[in-house]
Structures are given as structure tokens and as C-alpha cells.
């Protein structure tokens, strides 16, 4: 699935994920960051969340993404957005320098999620918050390792929640809160079908995953660095 495609943006808007900023807002409710808290949006794309966090919540938010094109789109929308080019496995931030990290609809796409989580742990101050939202597999099936289900593309890394939980705990996090938001994923999938965008791709994957036992869902999670 080409996240940079114009067709996709036409359906999802600048926040390319189920629910847009709705879930971000929900997570923030739970975190109560003070004003000017330092946050990083990992996989920020063109910076929709960063903008939202800065404008609506007065947080000192920055974003990092691998796509220079999306970053450029963001900067052309709002020149002053602090967006940098980077990679989740080696983030350009000092140890224990951040109060919070957002990683929305990105973790399951990373080739080495564990490495990324270790990085997150490194740059978060103790007690800092990690906000994760992502696809997951609603049924715990035979595949229990990240990156190993039968689909390709954006559902590739989806695993059952217990796997993610274990990985977080092993990386030094405690899960404070987990919520299913699968209706948002379904809504996005339905929108993509109607718009005929990637219907052979995302929805093919979605349906292929659905035909077996592994049905995709979407979750929101907040964890604390121990």
C-alpha cells in the first residue's frame, strides 16, 4: 500500500490512519501532559498529529518520518512544523529527553518493532508515556511473532494483543490502558472500498486476513516507561 498516494489521501485526509485525530485526543485525555511537555510523533507523515498537538493541546511536539515527500507536504502546509527525517530504530534524540511518544499506525509496519521500542524507552524519561495505536489480530492464532502473518502490506505486522503486550513489558514498559477501536478500522476499510482505492490491496488483504482466522482490528494503548 502506497502511503504517499494522492488517492489514499483523498479518502483519509492528511492523517492516514483509522480515526484520524480522534484516537489521539482520546489518548491525551488519559495522559494529561502539562503544557509544553515534549512529545515526539514517530511516523508523523505530513505532521497532522504534530500540528494538532501543538495547536489544540499546547504541547511541544515534533515529528519524525522516513518519507521526505510527506515531510515536505507537511512543511508546505505549515512551514514552522518541527518535522525531521529519521528512522524509528535510531531516533535523533537524547536519552530520557522526552515526556511522551506517539506511534500511531506505525509499529506493525516496522521491520524490527522490538528495536524501535527499545529506542522509545531510551529517549523517554522514566514515567514518560508511550501512546500506541495500530492494527492487531483479534484472534490469537497460530502465528505469534511480529511480521509473520499471512497477509502482505499494511496488515503484515498485525499480531494478537498478548504478543504486543509481552514485547512492551520486555522493553521496559507497563501497559496502563488498552482499548479496541476496530470500528474505526472497518470504517476506513469500507471507505477505501467505496472509493475504489487500493481495493485489490488493502481490502484484499483485509478480506484475505478475514477469510482465515486472523481478523484485523485496531487498538489504542497507553504505556508507561518504568
Amino acid at each position: 500500500m502506497n502511503y504517499e498516494s494522492a488517492e489514499l489521501h483523498a479518502v483519509t485526509g492528511p492523517a492516514i490512519r483509522p480515526g484520524g485525530v480522534e484516537l489521539t485526543a482520546r489518548a491525551l485525555e488519559f495522559c494529561s501532559f502539562p503544557d509544553s511537555a515534549r512529545l515526539l510523533d514517530v511516523g508523523c507523515g505530513s505532521g497532522a498529529s504534530v500540528e494538532y498537538l501543538r495547536d489544540h493541546h499546547h504541547l511541544n511536539a515534533a515529528g519524525v518520518d522516513m518519507s521526505s515527500r510527506l515531510l515536505r507536504d507537511g512543511k508546505s502546509r505549515v512551514a514552522s512544523l518541527p518535522l525531521v527525517l529519521g528512522n524509528a530504530e535510531r531516533l535523533p534524540f537524547g536519552d530520557e529527553s522526552l515526556d511522551g511518544i506517539l506511534c500511531e499506525c506505525v509499529l506493525s509496519l516496522l521491520p524490527d518493532a522490538e528495536c524501535a521500542l527499545t529506542e522509545f524507552c531510551r529517549i523517554l524519561r522514566p514515567g514518560g508515556r508511550l501512546i500506541l495505536s495500530d492494527v492487531y489480530m483479534r484472534e490469537s492464532g497460530e502465528n505469534q511473532c511480529h511480521g509473520e502473518n499471512s497477509t502482505d502490506g499494511c496488515l503484515k505486522g498485525a499480531v494478537a494483543y498478548p504478543v504486543t503486550k509481552k514485547m512492551l513489558e520486555e522493553s521496559g514498559f507497563t501497559v496502563l490502558f488498552w482499548e479496541d477501536h476496530t470500528p474505526l478500522l472497518k470504517e476506513l476499510a469500507a471507505r477505501l472500498v467505496l472509493a475504489d482505492v487500493a481495493s485489490a490491496v488493502f481490502c484484499g488483504e483485509y478480506k484475505k486476513a478475514g477469510d482465515g482466522y486472523q481478523r484485523p482490528g485496531y487498538y489504542l494503548l497507553v504505556a508507561r516507561k518504568d
Binding site: 483479534r138 484472534e139 488498552w178 479496541d180 482465515g212 482466522y213 482490528g217
Partner: protein
């Protein structure tokens, strides 16, 4: 579903139980998988299967005494698979080695006394577990009885190479040891635990508890001796014959006991499946053709590559799957009951209480119970699915579209256009109450009326009539609320009528009444017919069917009702028909796609299910029928080149006694007559088996017909008000009629759209065809109709619908 409920369900399904070979193998080698890889010609993969379980695969693979063969299912066909010979072929020809990954080293030391095979296997396991192992051997060589094998069976350098692995794993060796009491005591203080190989200990005098014949007492479950740090095993050559795999078991058992002893854990818990046990797996050999066992032409030298392939190819890859073999639904979802139960539980329970049950899956079961009948443990998917449906409804997660149409049909049957309760005309009490069922009235209105008249003629005490729905759709939809209300109302009405004996014309109605209103006495109309005799003129119908030989299509609900089945057959034979039974009849009737509301929740599956029963493989469906997906599919899962199942569709005309079975079979192109139409024939010569499908709209009209006819006999007029739009005349071609019916669009739905469009003028017009297109949302569905005015009515060109609701045009 609660956790303990899940365990009960899972326990019933034996599909995951090990095959006979694995269960009988003392160390539980996955012989089935091993043979499968050998059949594929992948010797290295086969070797890895052995290496996963076997200690010293190069040795054991050559000399194993294969007790597995004694229990191989093929022995019941002609001869067991030569697993032993295949193992030899494998280990002699593999190019890979066993990959051994020992655990982290522990600072605990174990001594193995005696280098016989049991001792060596104990050492193997202990080293893999990370213990520091020293093998103490009285002689100069390790191997014991292994060294007595002829070189061409077990070459000495193979033995040396295999045993050398122990050294690679860090094992230490002491040769020429003297094992007297003092030495033994020293070893016990030097090491944390001891394993004794009995073969090597024969004749020594160590101070261990002995039995009356002087043998050391060894606990068969744990290998423990009278001393808590000393374990023993092996020595099979002393009791019967040297059994390499039993020696391996003893070594393994001892190693595990030593590990538990050192960790201070209970020795004996959870070890029931160590060593050979009886498996619960059931594997049918009913359709296996005998194929003689391959004898190696090279004699003792073993199999050639081709011979091994052929012998491995004989393996039937034991598994149960009895229910999947007979059920298209179970096969289509690619699982088996134990797996399905787990899925449903995981979705209901684990996901924080949100019932994201795999909706289509639980709603597609017809609840026919064929699975229960063929399952050795009576696993009934219907129960599992109905429970899941109830849970989904309770938690408000059941999407409406699965059952909406069926429930609205039930509401219609219980509504003003059909529901009725009357004593017989001119009568004031009823000793009997005729409940012909909503579907029978919908499809055979005239025979219902004629049969009612006949019952009144022949039975004394008054025969009342109750028109309505028994509530089965609500039951199947998991709508306990609706179902309970429906049954309560029925019960109350029956009570008001004086609690008469109820005559049912539908087996489903009868079974629900029997279960939910046990105080109600019911009889099927067939039993009543046998008592009062058939009407004159019934038997003249025989010549209207294709021949005098027929087959009976029993509805699935009668699998537990042999009385009705026999009664029906007596009546059919009384009409001078010869009955030829279908293969899956008796206790194993199949679903027609209506039960469990399969037709509503999963129409594609329902079409395939009925096609499976109605159309012979390789023939074409009738042109009036839209061929569903997979029409020609007659083979289910294949395993090891065996075609599992294929319904034998008979050429005879069928006689059904369930309205939906008849209609569904007929719609699929199979000539099927309803028994009531043969007993109460139409006098204008129509062929009751030639009647094809009937639309949902016609069904509703027929129900009203029955109601109006009964009321007429009472001198009453039907009070049901006709809506204005119901007077609109529609002209629909057969093709369009069929299409809109498949889409479950009723003619009245179409009339409502047109009525509104013509009144308001809100419609679209096509410049090329001149057709109008209009739409209207009615309940959850928006209906679209393409039409043109025709003489005093409208011609319908097309109709379709969707559930997404139009919210408006965005500025």
C-alpha cells in the same frame, strides 16, 4: 462461553489427538509427519522430524523395534506402514544432521552409570537440559547391546559418531570403573543425582531396595528407586527382548525425573502420557482401498528410493474430520470443531469482553446436527453456534442484516395477514388443533385447506386451526427474547383453545413444541393419517411422477425422529411407490439450506449446499436457475489423494415432507414433490414434482389465501386492510422475478417505491430507454426500482437494494 465450557467443547473434538503410531511410540515420535515427508521424497525433512524427538536418530532410526506398526490403522486394511524400514531408509540417506541446541549450562552434576542405550539416552537428554554429565562405564566401550548388532544394520562407526555428540555437548567419560558399594557411595556424594542403566548394572550388588526376586525396585512411572537421588531404567533384554525405543523411553524418563528431583519439583505429576498410551483419535478406514505392503527387493538391505516412496504413499495420514467430510459448511471455513470452539471463545472472552465473534461463521451453521451424528463424541456445532448467536444478541453485536429478512417473514406470519385461531366452523370446542405451519401454507395452500377439511371429517371432538409461526426463525437467530415471547403466546392460545392435541404438518414446529411446551400433546399429520386412513384418490397420483420408484428427502430435524420417518415411508408405500433410500438418509439427513437461517446469513453457502444434494456432478443446472458459485463442486477436502465425500444424487423423483426442503430442492432443479400434495392431489393434473421455485412474495400471498379461505368457511371476511399501493399491478418477466427474489425484494417493496415516486414525482428518467428509476428507504433497507408504465400497471425492469443510508448531498 466460560473457560470451563470451552474445555468441555474442546475435549469432545478429537481431531488434535495424536494418531495411533505417535501415541503407541514410547517417545511419541511424529511418525505421521515423518511418513508424510518420506512420501514427498524429502528425506532430509523427514530426518528432521525424527531428530526433533529421537535421541541418537542415526542409531534409533536404524534399529528401532517400531511398536508403532502394531497399532497402525492400515493393519486393519491390509498391513501396517513399514515405519521401521522407512526410518532406516531415511537415516541411511539423509544429508543433514540433528540440530541440538542445549539449554544454558547449570551447575549441577549428574552421573550416568553404564553406557548402555538407556544410559546414553539419559545422558543425551540431561546434557541438552544443560546438566554436567559424567558417564561411568565399567568396560572400555560405550553402547552395551548396541554393539551386538550386525555391522550392516548398525555400523560401529555410526555408533561411534552418534555417541561422540555427547562429548560435543560437554559430557565426560570414565572408563574401567569399578562399581562396588564404596564407589557407589562416593559417586552419590560427588554427584547431585545418578541414573543407572540396568543393563550395565546386571549382577552388581548395590545397596538399593530390591524385590523378592532380587531385582532393584524401580517405579515404572518415574524411574525412581528406593534412594531419592538414584534413578534407573533400561535392561529390556532381561525381561523380554532388547527394545531400543523402550530403552530410550527409560533414559528420557530418568532424565526428566532427575531434573525434577534437582529442582525439588513433584516427580510424578503430569506424566500420564509418558510412554505408550491409547489415543482418542478416531480415523475411519471405511473407504480405504487395500494396497499391499511394499516388500524390499533388496531384503535385509532395506528399501530403495522408489520403494520407500511407494510405501510411504500408502499412509492414510490419520485424522478424524468425520464431520467435515459430510458438511460443506465445516469444510468451507477450513477448520474443525475444536479449533472453531477456541476461536469463538477467544473472541468472546479474551478480547476484553467485546464479542467480535466471527459473525458469518457462527451464523452460517444450519444446526442440522449431522456433525453430531457422525462424531464419535457427538460434537454438535449447532449448539455451539446457537449459543454464540445468543451471546451476540445479548451483547448487541449481531448485525441486523444476517437475520432481518427471516425475522420479518416470521413477523408477517404472526401478523394480521396470516395469524388466525379458530375452532372448526360451527364448533365451539376443539379436541384437536391443526397447525399447518407458515411455510407449508406459503407453498401449498390448497393441500393445506383440503387436508384440514379431511381432518374435520375424520376426527371427532372438533378440529380447530391455528395459523402462525412456531418461532423457529427467532430460535435460529439467537433471539431468545423474541422466541420466548412467541412460544409464550402460542402456549397461551393453545390453553385458551382447551389444550387440544396439536397436529403438526412440519417436523420443526413439532420439535420446538415438544421441547418448549412439553405439556402440549402433539402428533404429526402423518401419524394421524395412518390412524384415520388416506383419502380416496390419493393413490391415483403415482403415475403423475416420473416412475414408481422414489427417494425420500427427510428434513434434517427428523434425524432424532425415526417414528415420523417410518410413518412417512409407510404412507408413501401405501401410495404404491417403491422407496429407494438415499445414502445419507436415516440418521444422517442433510440440510437444505433453510435451517439455522443459513439462506439468510450466507446465501452463497446455502445455494451450494442444496446444489450438492440436487445436481449430479458434471451435469448442468436448469437454465431457469442462476448457477451459484461452486455449483459443480462436489468434492470436499482431499487428503493424501483421497476424495473425501460426494453426495450421490439419485435419478429418482424425491418426496419431501418439509415445505422448505421441497422448495429448495425444486429450486435447485431436482424434481421433488411434497407428500401432502400426493395425499391431497390437485385435480387438474398438475405434476407435483414439477413445481419449481416460488417467490417470497407468492409465499405471503398464499398465506393470506389460506387465512381468507378459513375465514370464508366461517362466513367471515378477511379484515386485513389492503394498503393503497398493494393494488398496483406489476408485470415482471421470469428472469427479473427470479433475480429480485434472490435479492429478497418483495413485490410489495417494489409497489411502495413506485407508489411514492408516482405520487411525489421524485424519480429519475433515462433518456435512452425511457425507463424511470426511483428509490425509497423502508426500515433498514433502501430499495431501487427501474420501471415503465404499462397497461394499467407497471413493467419492472430491475430492482436492487442496499443498507447504507443516504444522508444527503454535501454542499
Amino acid at each position: 462461553m466460560e473457560k470451563d465450557e470451552l474445555q468441555q467443547w474442546e475435549n469432545k473434538c478429537i481431531q488434535e489427538e495424536p494418531p495411533e503410531c505417535t501415541a503407541t511410540c514410547p517417545i511419541h515420535v511424529d511418525a505421521r509427519l515423518f511418513v508424510k515427508e518420506m512420501a514427498r521424497g524429502d528425506v532430509d525433512a523427514a530426518f528432521q522430524v525424527l531428530a526433533r524427538t529421537m535421541p541418537f536418530p542415526g542409531i534409533l532410526g536404524r534399529i528401532c523395534d517400531h511398536p508403532c506398526e502394531r497399532r497402525c490403522k492400515r493393519d486393519q486394511v491390509e498391513a501396517p506402514i513399514a515405519i521401521g524400514l522407512l526410518e532406516r531408509r531415511c537415516v541411511e540417506n539423509t544429508t543433514t544432521r540433528a540440530r541440538i541446541q542445549p539449554l544454558a549450562r547449570r551447575d549441577k552434576r549428574v552421573a550416568v552409570l553404564g553406557g548402555g542405550f538407556a544410559g546414553l539416552c539419559a545422558a543425551w537428554d540431561l546434557l541438552k537440559k544443560g546438566f554436567r554429565v559424567t558417564i561411568v562405564e565399567a568396560g572400555g566401550l560405550l553402547g552395551g547391546s548396541l554393539l551386538e548388532y550386525p555391522a550392516d544394520i548398525l555400523p560401529p562407526d555410526v555408533v561411534r559418531e552418534e555417541i561422540a555428540v555427547l562429548e560435543t555437548l560437554g559430557g565426560e567419560f570414565r572408563y574401567g570403573a569399578v562399581l562396588d558399594e564404596a564407589a557407589f557411595a562416593r559417586l552419590r556424594s560427588e554427584f547431585d543425582a545418578i541414573f543407572m542403566d540396568r543393563e550395565a548394572m546386571a549382577g552388581c550388588d548395590l545397596p538399593l531396595t530390591r524385590d523378592d526376586s532380587g531385582e532393584i525396585v524401580i517405579d515404572p512411572a518415574t524411574g525412581a528407586t528406593g534412594e531419592d537421588d538414584v534413578f534407573a531404567g533400561g535392561g529390556t533384554r532381561f525381561s523380554s527382548a532388547f527394545s531400543p525405543v523402550t530403552e530410550a523411553l527409560h533414559g528420557r524418563k530418568g532424565a526428566l525425573s532427575i531434573e525434577r528431583f534437582i529442582q525439588n519439583v513433584q516427580l510424578s505429576t503430569g506424566r500420564e502420557n509418558e510412554g505408550p498410551f491409547s489415543t482418542r483419535l478416531f480415523t475411519s478406514i471405511a473407504e480405504i482401498e487395500p494396497v499391499p505392503r511394499i516388500i524390499p527387493t533388496a531384503g535385509d538391505a532395506g528399501y530403495s528410493s522408489e520403494e520407500a516412496l511407494a510405501e510411504a504413499g500408502r499412509c492414510i495420514q490419520c485424522e478424524c474430520m468425520e464431520c467435515v467430510k459430510v458438511c460443506l459448511y465445516l469444510e468451507r471455513f477450513e477448520g474443525y470443531p475444536k479449533k472453531y470452539a477456541r476461536q469463538i471463545f477467544n473472541n468472546e472472552y479474551v478480547m476484553h469482553g467485546r464479542a467480535h465473534t466471527k459473525n458469518q461463521f457462527v451464523n452460517s451453521c444450519s444446526t442440522c446436527g449431522l456433525c453430531e451424528t457422525v462424531c464419535p463424541n457427538d460434537f454438535y456445532m449447532g449448539d455451539l453456534c446457537l449459543q454464540a448467536r445468543r451471546t451476540m444478541n445479548e451483547r448487541k453485536f449481531m448485525p441486523a442484516s444476517f437475520h432481518e429478512f427471516a425475522l420479518s417473514d416470521m413477523a408477517h406470519a404472526n401478523g394480521d395477514s396470516f395469524a388466525l385461531l379458530r375452532h372448526e366452523p360451527g364448533g365451539e370446542k376443539s379436541a384437536w388443533l391443526y397447525f399447518p405451519s407458515c411455510q407449508l401454507c406459503a407453498t401449498s395452500p390448497l393441500p393445506v385447506l383440503t387436508s384440514y377439511r379431511y381432518l374435520r371429517e375424520k376426527l371427532a371432538g372438533g378440529v380447530g386451526i391455528m395459523l402462525g409461526c412456531c418461532g423457529a426463525p427467532a430460535f435460529w437467530a439467537g433471539r431468545e427474547d423474541l422466541f420466548k415471547a412467541s412460544i409464550a403466546k402460542l402456549r397461551q392460545q393453545w390453553d385458551e383453545m382447551g389444550s387440544p392435541k396439536v397436529i403438526t404438518a412440519c417436523s420443526t414446529c413439532r420439535s420446538l413444541f415438544t421441547e418448549r411446551i412439553p405439556e402440549m400433546e402433539t402428533q404429526s399429520i402423518w401419524e394421524v393419517m395412518e390412524d384415520i386412513g388416506l383419502p380416496v384418490g390419493a393413490s391415483s397420483l403415482a403415475e403423475r411422477l416420473t416412475g414408481s420408484t422414489v427417494s425420500v428427502a427427510d428434513p434434517c430435524i427428523t434425524r432424532k425422529d425415526p417414528q415420523t420417518k417410518e410413518s412417512v415411508r409407510r404412507i408413501i408405500k401405501g401410495l404404491d411407490f417403491v422407496v429407494e433410500e438415499l445414502p445419507l438418509s436415516g440418521e444422517k439427513p442433510e440440510c437444505c439450506g433453510f435451517g439455522g437461517l443459513m439462506f439468510n446469513a450466507n446465501p452463497g453457502l446455502a445455494r451450494d449446499v442444496i446444489a450438492h444434494r440436487a445436481v449430479k456432478a458434471g451435469t448442468s443446472p436448469p437454465s431457469t436457475v442462476t448457477a451459484p458459485q461452486g455449483w459443480f463442486r462436489t468434492r470436499l477436502r482431499e487428503s493424501a489423494d483421497t476424495v473425501y465425500y460426494h453426495t450421490k444424487v439419485s435419478d429418482n423423483d424425491y418426496i419431501a415432507y418439509c415445505a422448505m426442503c421441497r422448495d429448495n430442492l425444486a429450486a435447485a432443479g431436482k424434481r421433488t414433490a411434497h407428500l401432502l400434495e400426493l395425499v391431497f392431489p390437485d385435480h387438474d393434473g398438475t405434476d407435483p414434482a414439477g413445481r419449481g421455485w416460488i417467490s417470497w412474495s407468492e409465499r405471503r400471498n398464499n398465506r393470506s389465501l389460506v387465512r381468507d379461505a378459513v375465514l370464508a368457511e366461517h362466513g367471515e371476511k378477511g379484515e386485513a386492510q389492503m394498503e393503497e399501493y398493494e393494488n398496483i399491478k406489476l408485470s415482471i418477466s421470469d428472469e427479473v422475478r427470479r433475480r429480485i427474489d434472490d435479492r429478497r425484494i418483495l413485490e410489495n417493496d417494489i409497489r411502495q417505491v413506485i407508489h411514492q415516486a408516482e405520487e411525489t414525482g421524485k424519480r429519475l428518467k433515462n433518456a435512452d430507454t425511457g425507463h424511470f428509476l426511483a428509490y425509497q428507504q423502508s426500515g433498514n433497507v433502501t430499495f431501487w426500482v427501474e420501471y415503465s408504465p404499462a397497461d394499467n400497471g407497471y413493467t419492472i425492469h430491475n430492482a436492487y437494494s442496499h443498507r447504507m443510508q443516504i444522508a444527503g448531498i454535501k454542499p
